[in-house]
């Protein structure tokens, strides 16, 4: 064969030799990349976090506690928790229902539906707030009706709750849909064949399988509900002690040049963000293990 005869000519001139292990980079490249990555993360993520706590404690622990115990701060905390307590359960129910329908069934428009559920993620928070002002505000569609019945949504608590619901709308659903799609319906079908009803299947078969993913979605949903700023800012009217959530309270304090109080309250939010990250990391590991178990058992079956 022609192409074999000239091997020796070719290989006698030895090629430039590459690194001794071709599957990773030379040590100096690896070290540079790691240093660059760490510096970038430290500069962009760690430093802002550190600065929050630093500024918060600048005037001592007493001033810090003072800022948090202030009645307006407490009422902001209360309102934030109320909004989250309403938005999260509703979005949870919706998320499970949507994931059941989309994850377990094949119907026309399923992909469109999935995309529509993601919509609130891509809409600017300010626009999200605006749409509710246009609906329920004084000059909005329902404005006259609401005024007639002496109901207030915009610049009142209901508006804050609705805006929070909107921006946190997709979290649980988008976590559960892919999870349930990959899981498949074999176990549910088995339960059905053994005579279980719909609710029994859900509580006894589906829920135990998706519980970590569900908690994951709820965690993210809660974090966003507590921290949402833009949308809530547009609908709240910033009435101190009345329609202020924690992030809005931070803004007001900051704009009044009460910086250390602003950071003191902000540190509560930063703390909740850290807790969120910890829970998230924990749940991700649990979900990974579950997925490994499932794919593992499927491979055995083949």
């Amino acid at each position: 064969m022609k192409f074999i005869t000239n091997i020796r000519d070719y290989y006698s001139q030895k090629r430039k030799s590459g690194p001794s292990n071709l599957l990773t980079e030379p040590l100096w490249v690896r070290i540079i990349l790691i240093v660059v990555a760490i510096c970038f993360l430290a500069l962009f993520l760690v430093l802002p976090l550190v600065v929050v706590f630093n500024e918060a404690l600048m005037n001592g622990i007493n001033a810090y506690l003072e800022a948090i115990k202030e009645p307006e701060a407490l009422s902001a905390i209360k309102l934030t928790l109320i909004a989250a307590a309403i938005a999260v359960p509703l979005n949870l129910i919706f998320g499970v229902a949507a994931a059941w329908a989309i994850g377990y069934f094949n119907f026309k428009g399923r992909n469109l539906l999935t995309t529509l559920i993601d919509l609130p993620f891509t809409v600017s928070p300010v626009v999200s707030g605006l749409v509710f002002v246009l609906l329920f505000g004084r000059n909005g569609w329902f404005g006259p009706f609401l005024q007639e019945h002496n109901l207030k949504i915009i610049f009142a608590i209901p508006g804050i709750v609705i805006a929070t619901m909107f921006v946190t709308f997709p979290f649980v659903a988008r976590e559960l849909i892919p999870l349930m799609q990959t899981k498949g319906t074999e176990e549910e079908e088995a339960a059905r064949s053994l005579g279980a009803g719909g609710w029994q299947i859900f509580w006894r078969v589906t829920l135990p399988n998706i519980k970590w993913g569900l908690l994951y979605g709820v965690t993210l949903c809660t974090a966003r509900a507590i921290g949402e700023f833009g949308a809530v800012s547009v609908v709240s009217g910033h009435i101190r002690g009345m329609t202020n959530t924690i992030p809005l309270h931070v803004e007001i304090l900051y704009n009044e040049y009460n910086v250390s109080a602003a950071f003191a309250v902000a540190s509560l939010l930063a703390l909740s963000a850290l807790i969120t990250l910890a829970i998230k990391t924990f749940l991700e590991r649990k979900i990974d293990i579950d997925i490994l178990d499932q794919t593992g058992s499927k491979e055995e079956g083949n």
Binding site: F3, I4, I7, Y10, Y11, R15, S17, G18, N21, L22
Partner: protein, 358 residues
């Protein structure tokens, strides 16, 4: 090119993947590395290729007498065919095959036309001229495998290494490709080593077989030697079905229960416990007892298994015994209505306990 491996050791953490393996592969040979999964055969192949390295300080890898241990894989002149082909998904068949030529430094790189000629020649060789512009995911498994082979051959290696080359293919394609690969090897005569866990593949394709188990080389030899003169119980067991008996060997005799076989090669040895193996097709069955060299047995089950008839027996020593008979012999013996028979092994393999067994 001749490949010599001397005292190769490889440890992953605390797991000893390869244990002091020495092996010589002559120029132009087609050698199979045969063993169960996890035996270390793929690791050995990867070490030959330069994709893995032996434990530092252990062993030598020589290509035509030159130690290549410190040479990176790109300069070893090795063509490697991966188990799942590892084709570049975003490149056409043509670009995949041309890759090894395109990445050469400017001085060494053939002209565009030469590359085109070369790739066309290889496409012809693998019978895929018409699919040059397809992407890998548009090909069948067998076609991908051939592209992977052409890609490895494009750089004109002196050694071709194949990791489970037919593992991911269905049975029919596997058989076709096996024949094609053997013809290809006969044509181009390149020194080739392939890894497999399928003994029929190894027996069918290779000029020699190296059987590997638990990181050790159990035996290397021609397919005949490996099949008929296995050196260890593992090799014997791994290459086809076998019946196992406990017995005694020595003083010129092999004893299994009451059965006594002449064994002049053990004449000068005292009697010792031994493991005795009999292949299913090497058992004679008779219906009347004659002489002493027989063992009584009861037929528990029989069924036609393709080109032979399989009998399942219980011997007088209460061991299970499988026997394969040709359909003619089965007819001749008229076994359909008989349950009690007598068996004589035509050929036995003996391993004295504690001596040959590792």
């Amino acid at each position: 090119m001749k490949i010599e491996l001397q005292n190769i050791n490889k440890t992953f953490g605390s797991f000893k993947a390869l244990n002091d393996i020495s092996l010589t592969i002559e120029s132009g040979e087609l050698v199979a590395l045969l063993g169960p999964s996890g035996s270390g055969k793929t690791t050995l192949l990867r070490i030959m290729a330069g994709l893995d390295f032996p434990d530092s300080g252990s062993g030598h890898i020589m290509f035509d007498g030159v130690d290549v241990n410190t040479q990176p894989l790109s300069s070893r002149g090795v063509g490697f065919v991966f188990q799942h082909y590892a084709l570049f998904k975003h490149m056409t068949v043509f670009d995949n095959i041309a890759f090894g030529l395109n990445v050469r430094s400017k001085e060494d790189r053939p002209s565009k036309n030469d590359i085109k000629d070369k790739v066309t020649e290889l496409l012809h060789l693998i019978h895929l001229e018409d699919l040059a512009n397809r992407l890998p995911h548009q090909l069948s498994g067998g076609q991908r495998q051939r592209v992977a082979l052409a890609r490895a051959l494009a750089v004109e290696p002196h050694v071709l290494l194949l990791d489970e080359p037919f593992g991911a293919l269905d049975a029919k394609v596997r058989l076709e490709l096996r024949r094609w690969l053997r013809r290809l090897h006969d044509e181009i005569g390149i020194t080739s080593v392939f890894v497999t866990h399928d003994q029929t593949e190894a027996l069918d394709l290779s000029s020699r077989i190296a059987v590997i188990n638990n990181g050790r080389l159990e035996q290397i030899g021609t397919p005949e030697e490996i099949f008929h003169k296995p050196k260890t119980e593992f090799v014997l067991n791994f290459l086809g079905e076998v019946n196992f008996f406990r017995g005694v060997v020595g003083k010129g005799k092999i004893r299994i229960g009451n059965l006594k076989l002449e064994a002049p090669e053990y004449k000068d040895q005292p009697e010792e416990a031994a493991h005795i193996f009999i292949r299913p097709h090497q058992v004679e069955i008779i219906t009347d007892p004659k002489g002493k060299n027989q063992m009584a047995a009861t037929i528990t089950r029989m069924h036609a298994a393709g080109s032979f008839v399989r009998l399942e027996l219980k011997t007088e020593t209460d061991d299970d015994l499988y026997v394969d008979l040709t359909p003619e012999r089965f007819e001749e013996l008229n076994l359909a209505n008989i349950t009690n028979v007598y068996v004589t092994p035509k050929n036995v393999l003996v391993f004295i306990v504690g001596k040959h067994i590792i």
